[in-house]
Amino acid sequence: MIELLMDRYTYVLMFVLLGLGIYMVIASENLVKKLIGVSLFQTAIFLFFISMAYIDVEGASAPIVPHHGEPGEVMVASPLPQVIVLTAIVVGIALTAVGLALIIRIYAEYGTLREDTLREVRADE
């Protein structure tokens, strides 16, 4: 059991971070903290992709291939999942920016960032 966890430590970390992200989205009353929870959830998924691309063999390196080396199989981490994650990080920050802009507007309109107060204010209208 311990060996299973030690062998797959990045996946264990990913599962726990997924849980923490979802918990923050469910349980936090503050809208800014909810959005931070979404970001936390995203980074867990990124970690999953990066772990899949990782290769742990003798002489493995980052995906940079010197062109004057001898031809043949080069053992480097796979570039394909890494590029997906690069794209996803940038899209993630765009998502966060729009979310924060909406939060600023909600505050300007209702004067609160707490979910329960917001619900009361909207019920009174």
Binding site: Y11, I50, V83
Partner: protein, 179 residues
């Protein structure tokens, strides 16, 4: 070497738990920045320096800046309590979710760095990009060549998404109006 990785995992877990538990939003933002930095170091360890640089610049840098600007323009609730109240039903649901993942999914995962993952069990695809990258694009860094050449349209689409996000942010903040 792997001792370093394990201590890094513990650091990331500690900062993530602190992010969840702190009550003060400013503390949460700062701890989340530390979490992003730890994540960037872990990416470097997992042989993804390009992703690590992006995560350090965008995750730890720009996200923290945007969050700080947001609480500067809205409010930061003052409080005496150090940590958030524990929301018990959410803990039960999330705990069951994580436990299910760890018991049912984890044994079927591949050990970290194993060559039997889907990425490596069919090495022709990955090896094609690795061996042909300099020949076809003139770039030694395979990540750059995939990002800018092989998946150029994908990156173009990403630029469109960022543009759309910028426009909608300005519209929401009423810096721009529809004529």
């Amino acid at each position: 070497m792997s001792l370093f990785a394990y201590s890094l995992v513990i650091f990331i877990l500690a900062t993530a738990v602190a992010t969840v538990l702190f009550r003060d939003v400013l503390s949460v933002i700062i701890v989340f920045g530390a979490y992003s930095l730890g994540m960037a170091i872990l990416y470097t360890f997992l042989l993804a320096p390009d992703v690590a640089m992006t995560e350090a610049a965008i995750g730890a840098g720009v996200t923290t800046l945007l969050l700080l600007l947001t609480i500067a323009r809205t409010t930061r609730p003052t409080t005496d309590a150090l940590r958030e109240r524990i929301h018990v039903p959410a803990v039960v649901v999330v705990g069951a979710f994580v436990l299910l993942l760890c018991t049912a999914v984890l044994p079927d995962m591949y050990p970290v760095g194993s060559t039997s993952t889907p990425v490596w069990s069919n090495p022709d695809v990955t090896q094609h990009y690795i061996t042909e990258t300099y020949e076809q694009t003139g770039v030694e860094n395979a990540v750059t060549s995939v990002l800018a050449a092989y998946r150029g349209f994908d990156t173009f689409g990403e630029a469109v998404v960022v543009f759309a996000a910028g426009v909608s942010t300005l519209l929401v903040l009423k810096r721009e109006v529809f004529a």
